[in-house]
Symmetry: C2
Subunit: 133 residues, 2 copies
């Protein structure tokens, strides 16, 4: 089912500071910030040779990313793996009795592609996103 | 400085259960467990097309991985990025006043290559390993 690691998402309170760490301290290629109003976040992409790190900050206090930061501070929010088909993946997961977050409607993620999030209780407390490649 | 994401390390209390999640639920290619006595851990590698997930469990209660799990439960322990030269990276980090864990001696990591760990306070609380590619 999972093929590639699409990205590691890191929730941060100060996007400019976090981007600075990756650009200036770690010498990585870092995108300009992008506002994704529909998803309630502003993001910076750290472009590595084989995958991406996504630095994510909430646009408002009622975002789940804001709650995450309030509870735990800055930290890794989720891992996103690519799959061939979200519908097929959802079907396989359902057959195994694995809980998926939200209702059964396919969601469109921050990259404009179908995604789903597994309930973290199914995966050792780690939030996992699956994205259609 | 950083080029590729070498691996995401996940600390787990039950290695067989964690490996089962990746193999059976997520359909990934999962290695046999390997004991790295010198590093005090037993690991399973989840082989993705572009990078690896390393599931790590401590061999004894006095391991830093055991403390991590005791404090926070299973979770992402560190991210490892590849660099061309650990010596050059250490020099650049020192010039920027960035703290490195341990003393200034180059350590040999779990893959038999030179590594260093940045102090997590320098990188938004996330533990980052650099490994010579």
């Amino acid at each position: 089912m999972i093929e590639r690691l699409n990205h590691v998402a890191i929730a941060v309170g100060d996007l400019a500071a976090a981007a600075g760490i990756y650009r200036d301290l770690l010498g990585a290629k870092v995108s300009a910030p992008q506002t994704l109003t529909e998803h309630g976040v502003r993001v910076v992409f750290v472009e590595l040779d084989n995958t991406k790190i996504e630095l994510i900050t909430p646009l408002s206090d009622d975002s789940p990313i804001a709650s995450f930061i309030e509870k735990r501070g800055n930290g890794i929010h989720h891992l996103c793996y690519e799959v061939n088909s979200i519908k097929e993946s959802a079907k396989e997961l359902n057959q195994q009795g694995c809980r998926i977050l939200g209702d059964d409607k396919v969601q469109i993620g921050a990259h404009g592609k179908p995604v789903l999030f597994l309930h973290p209780a199914e995966t050792d407390g780690i939030l996992i996103e699956l994205e259609e490649a």
